[in-house]
């Protein structure tokens, strides 16, 4: 059975139909990248799955915990890096403090931010902030990690450091769903790619299948990246 199953999902904002009929599966350990032009409904799809939006109809079947990494990080500016990561596991999940702090330090080490424990978010670069927000999501021990354009708020130099982190997580078989505009990255890291346009899934398959698709819309979209 799939870890996450979405069936016939529909969502409108007033007259604007954003998701027209979306169905997809995510298997345990799989990395799914969702690509497509702006306004195609990628982020809305993610926001419906993570309960930030209420779908109009359709089924989202997912029994587990998830983490979400936002485009603009949304770290809590009044909390230190350490508190950003540990507060929810301690206060919401009611886990043991020592255990949470230990795993938070492991995560920070993995993110190359061991020396930033006591820093506040505004003292960090965008790339560092995004790594903290990934650590914050991972600290909840999620079954799936969702990324909503995790590098779109970063300049190209900082984008790379986030992509490396995600690639490392993929190597550890973390189940991830990533909305991204980084085509080369998607092609390299994904087990499966979904191409969305105008509220529909146009193409779905392995990176090779999707990137060699004959679909006109898909070709046009990819052309913009490879011309």
């Amino acid at each position: 059975m799939s870890l996450l199953e979405v069936k016939n999902l529909k969502k409108s904002f007033d007259d604007n139909v954003v998701l027209k009929d979306i169905s997809l599966n995510v298997e345990k350990g799989e990395v799914l990248c969702i690509i497509g032009p702006s306004g195609s409904g990628k982020s809305t799809l993610l926001r419906c799955i993570t309960d930030l939006e209420q779908e109009d109809s359709g089924i989202i079947d997912f029994n587990g915990t998830f983490g979400l990494v936002f485009q603009d990080f949304n770290l809590f500016p009044h909390h230190t890096v350490m508190k950003n990561i540990t507060n929810a596991p301690i206060k919401v999940q009611k886990r043991d403090k020592d255990e949470v702090f230990k795993s938070a330090r492991d995560l920070l080490k993995k993110m190359g931010l061991s020396d930033k424990e006591d820093a506040y978010p505004h003292e960090l670069s965008g790339g560092q902030q995004q790594r903290v927000s990934i650590a914050r999501a991972l600290a909840m021990n999620p079954d799936i990690l969702f990324f909503d354009e995790p590098t779109s708020a970063l300049d190209p130099e900082l984008t790379g450091e986030i992509l490396v982190v995600i690639r490392d997580l993929a190597a550890e078989h973390m189940t991830m769903v990533i909305v991204t505009h980084e085509m080369t990255f998607a092609r390299n890291v994904a087990d499966k790619i979904i191409f969305m346009d105008d509220g529909y899934i146009i193409e779905e398959g392995t990176p090779d299948e999707v990137f060699s698709s004959d679909n006109a819309r898909m070709k046009e979209f990819l052309g913009k990246f490879y011309d």
């Binding site: 949304n74 009044h78 999940q93 999501a137």
Partner: protein, 216 residues
């Protein structure tokens, strides 16, 4: 009047002024938050009610509100009031007036917090109440403290309005002494008191602003 006996009388007035100040803050700060919630409510009638309330409180003189709260129960309901009511009326009038100003300050602060903060909290499993008190309110404090400082400093001076219903606070006492002595010495002493009080208030608020300013 001898300076010593004058200072003795003024000291009693000073204690009353400080009581008015502290009790007003004690009641108006939380009440203001409740009014701000009402003002931002999804329930339109409540929102309008709070809007009208704030409009009246800010749009009419505090001195008039003091008189209405003090004399109103007698003239409107024919109620007989205990002598203690004089002081209670001051606390009520100041609290409901200042709560209106604080409500608008809170509202401004709460509306300045980006939506993403609520979303991040929701995704991490924080409940609504927990989100407000651990994520939103501390950020709101940082934003609103300079405006709150302004109001608190104004409150120190506004306590002197209590003279209109003859509550024996600093200004009422000073005015009485000045009239009896045909000298403004007592009023000048009162002026020094208000100034020193506000220097202390400014000092404390500055410390608070530093304490809450996680961006510094």
């Amino acid at each position: 009047m001898m300076l010593e006996s004058m200072v003795g009388l003024l000291m009693d007035g000073m204690v009353t002024s400080i009581e008015i100040f502290l009790l007003t803050l004690l009641f108006s700060l939380p009440l203001g938050l409740l009014i701000a919630f009402g003002r931002m409510s999804k329930f339109a009638p409540l929102r309008w009610l709070m809007k009208i309330y704030i409009s009246i409180m800010r749009g009419t003189p505090l001195m008039l509100q003091l008189i209405v709260v003090f004399f109103g129960p007698y003239y409107i309901f024919g109620a007989t009031l205990s002598p203690d009511y004089r002081f209670i009326a001051v606390i009520i009038a100041f609290s409901i007036n200042y709560a209106a100003y604080f409500a608008e300050i809170y509202r401004g602060g709460i509306e300045a917090i980006p939506k993403g903060q609520y979303e991040a909290a929701q995704v991490l499993g924080y409940g609504k109440v927990q989100t407000f008190f651990t994520i939103i309110l501390p950020q709101v404090f940082r934003i609103i403290l300079p405006s709150v400082t302004n109001e608190v400093i104004t409150l120190v001076k506004d306590t002197s309005l209590s003279f209109v219903i003859a509550v024996p606070e600093m200004f009422t006492v000073a005015k009485q002494i000045a009239a009896a002595d045909a000298s403004i010495a007592a009023l000048l002493v009162a002026g020094v008191f208000y100034y020193v009080f506000n220097v202390l208030v400014a000092f404390v608020m500055e410390r608070l602003e530093k304490r809450f300013n996680y961006l510094a």
